[in-house]
């Protein structure tokens, strides 16, 4: 009997893991975008990505499926970037910045947009962690309800805070 229940547990665990791998692989771009915002070189990018993967997997059994996986992943990944991740003491080399904001050169990608995207990332890097999160959620078209729930602040405050963050960003982009 014990053996059978063990086998069932192993099977359930395996199913959960398979589901996680499918969900996470499909949505990994969310994590990559967050890594680009919160880190400035490839090494840090991968460190943060690893920590996000660990946290999403660790909490995956708590994901009930009453919301979309991606919605849930935004929260876990942002929390990891804001509160759990610590940059390693290795000093980032400044020239790494261009590696990161990135050699995005695909044929169908507009030149002006590429320049704008680089400028945008560069400007976002100058914001504090919370403003980064706000701007990121704005760029990803998240509704205020979701933003306020993710950050744990009221709807009104999320709006106030968002407007300030946008102003800061605009000032950096168009000084």
């Amino acid at each position: 009997m014990l053996l059978i229940s063990n086998l069932i547990t192993i099977k359930l665990q395996k199913d959960l893991e398979d589901k996680f791998l499918i969900d996470f692989e499909k949505n990994q771009n969310i994590a990559h975008k967050i890594c680009r915002i919160y880190t400035t070189n490839r090494e840090e990018h991968n460190d943060l990505f690893q920590e996000i993967t660990i946290q999403v997997w660790k909490n995956y059994s708590k994901f009930r499926g009453d919301s979309k996986f991606s919605t849930w992943m935004y929260r876990v990944a942002l929390n990891t970037a804001i509160s759990l991740y610590r940059k390693s003491t290795r000093q980032p080399k400044t020239q790494d910045f261009n590696d990161v904001v990135y050699k995005i050169q695909t044929i169908d990608y507009d030149d002006t947009e590429e320049i704008q995207l680089k400028a945008l990332y560069k400007a976002i890097h100058q914001l504090n962690d919370i403003d980064k999160a706000l701007i990121f959620l704005y760029l990803e078209d998240k509704p205020y309800k979701e933003i306020s729930e993710t950050l744990g602040i009221s709807n009104v405050n999320a709006r106030v805070k968002m407007n300030r963050a946008k102003e800061k960003l605009k000032n950096i982009l168009n000084p």
């Binding site: 929390n79 804001i82 610590r86 704008q116 995207l117 504090n128 744990g152 982009l173």
Partner: protein, 204 residues
Amino acid sequence: MDSLDNYKKAWDNQPEEKHKFSALEIYKLAHSKSASIVKWIFIIGILEFVILNSLSFFVDTKSSDILFKEMGLESTILYSTAAAYVILFYFLVLFYLNYKRISTTDSSTELMKKIINTRKTVRNYVLFNFSYLAFVVLVVTGAYININFNDLDTKKIIIMLLTVFALTLIILGVLWLFYQLLYGILLRKLKNNYKELAKLENLE
């Protein structure tokens, strides 16, 4: 039109990450060791409990036992040691429960609050220990003066009290500095982020 709209369009059209991870790589990453701040807080917290409670093994307690006996403080020390263990147990349980409550699926504010609280449990335990130590020093000094009252002149008593006072202050000062450093390294970023969000809630 909002001046951010163009940038937003560039954002929406950005290509997907080039260095994508395969399912196998994700599997490996998910099962690797976390290096998160929460893990560090747990390890350092446990170390602090262990170090504080193993200090008595390095100190020669035999001579102080005799001294306490002479002063008639034997039972006071016995009871307070028993109480100290109860209190240690209480703090350990609290620390563990707080640690367990930390969840990345909470809202950011909630998560940061829980991390800070977990760290505070250990800090309070250390503070408690050192206030207890200061209390013992005070009692022992008082008892010593009481016993030898006839042999001591006022000048000697004052010098003794001042020395004890200064030593206690220096030890507490060093401890405070150590904590500022530890907290600074571990929690500065987190605390700033927490303040950033909490500040806003107070505006309402």
